[in-house]
């Protein structure tokens, strides 16, 4: 028996535009947040979300329900595209610097958008900045585990790496973030 997701995909493949709208509606938030957590920028996250959905639309036929859930497939497509794009442009390293520019531009806004309200949270801002300092592998692992809330097994399947490697990466990422936090505390003398 087909799940509701599979039915949506089936209808979409038959040319039902409303089914495609249902898919976009259901996963835009998730994909957008994935992009935002990788890049730390709202404008880049929006661009990435569009590109990811274009890719999904073009490759919808290649989805096989036996290989896993539709959500995992979407996340896999999204993750691969994000990694490819940033490997090509080498912007992972530049993101932290460019974020400063974004913050400066945003200070000109007359009314804060919902994004800005969220970013005003000190811990969220710290975490976003700290994530940009991690290597792509560690960042990817911690995003999937602690921000996306995925299980180790799911992450291993998604990244096509052994579960032990996933655990090791997550531990290293957490240690690095903890050390950054400790360093920040020592510098600023305030609790995050």
């Amino acid at each position: 028996m087909l799940s509701s997701e599979e039915k949506l995909v089936e209808r979409c493949l038959q040319g039902d535009d409303s089914a495609w709208e249902g898919i976009v509606n259901a996963y835009t938030r998730r994909v957008y947040n994935l992009g935002y957590r990788y890049t730390g920028r709202t404008d880049e996250a929006e661009d990435l979300t569009q590109e990811i959905f274009i890719k999904i639309y073009q490759n919808l036929k290649s989805y096989r329900s036996e290989a896993g859930s539709f959500q995992n497939w979407i996340l896999k497509v999204g993750r691969n595209l994000i990694i490819d794009r940033y490997r090509q442009t080498r912007r992972f390293q530049q993101s932290a610097g460019s974020e400063e520019m974004e913050t400066m531009n945003l200070s000109d806004e007359k009314t804060p958008s919902p994004h800005r309200i969220v970013e005003q949270s000190e811990s969220a801002r710290y975490l976003r900045e700290a994530l940009q300092k991690l290597s792509p592998e560690l960042k990817e692992a911690i995003i999937l585990r602690d921000l996306e809330g995925m299980a180790y097994q799911e992450i291993a399947g998604l990244l096509s790496i052994p579960e032990g490697t996933v655990k090791s990466r997550i531990n290293r990422a957490r240690l690095e973030l903890a050390r950054l936090l400790s360093k920040r505390r020592a510098q600023m003398g305030v609790l995050v």
Partner: protein, 211 residues
């Protein structure tokens, strides 16, 4: 257990995913090592921050852009969005607020000023009076219609009289100008001979009178 060994297991210790024996050994080390216990606390803070990290809401326009770039079909709007787009958003503007405030002010002033004449106004606006007024209005309209109809007949009669008069005059002038009246290509009997021989002028020959 050394510090690097504990660091290696810290994440799993935090998640209580280690075997019981290892959990006890790590706990023992943490009890003795302030550096590692501090690291564990920082790690706990990080994990909790991640868990409470809020999900951002994407812009509604993003959804629209995605659909336009893929299926090419615009987003289906809900009734609430339609109301918001066509009614609430245009209404919730400074200009509208200023207009509404002025309207309220005007109505307030009007109420204050009209209070002494409230009985008269109430009588004026009573349903009975309104129906009476409407009845009178309809009757007036009917009378006006009748008057206009009569007027139309009068104008029509005047026009017919004028038209007949003009044609009569034209016939009279044509006779005076000595234009032969053509009736089936023959001249009228009783016309003088000299007049028959005289060639009519080009101008007058064009004038054909009704038989």
């Amino acid at each position: 257990m050394s510090c690097p060994d504990v660091e290696e297991r810290l994440s799993e210790y935090l998640e209580r995913a280690l075997p019981a024996e290892e959990m006890a050994r790590v706990a023992e080390h943490l009890h003795a090592c302030s550096k590692c216990s501090s690291l564990l606390e920082d790690m706990r803070t990080i994990v909790l921050s991640c868990k409470s990290y809020p999900m951002l809401e994407p812009d509604v326009d993003l959804l629209e852009r995605i659909l336009l770039r893929t299926s090419g079909r615009p987003r289906t709007r809900t009734l609430r969005e339609i109301i918001d787009q066509y009614f609430l958003r245009p209404m919730l503007t400074r200009r509208f607020a200023a207009g509404a405030a002025l309207a309220v002010l005007f109505l307030g002033l009007l109420t204050v000023l009209a209070r002494p004449h409230m009985t008269t106004i109430a009588t004026f606006l009573s349903p009975r009076e309104m129906i009476h007024k409407m009845d009178r209005g309809v009757q007036g309209l009917y009378a006006e219609g009748l008057r206009a109809y009569n007027k139309k007949n009068e104008w029509q009669a005047q026009f017919t009289f004028f038209k007949n008069n003009v044609f009569h005059k034209l016939g009279f002038w044509a006779e005076q100008l000595d234009v032969p009246v053509q009736t089936n290509g023959k001249q009228k009997s009783g016309e003088p001979r000299q007049r028959q021989e005289k060639a009519p002028s080009q101008k007058s020959s064009l004038l054909l009178l009704p038989a």
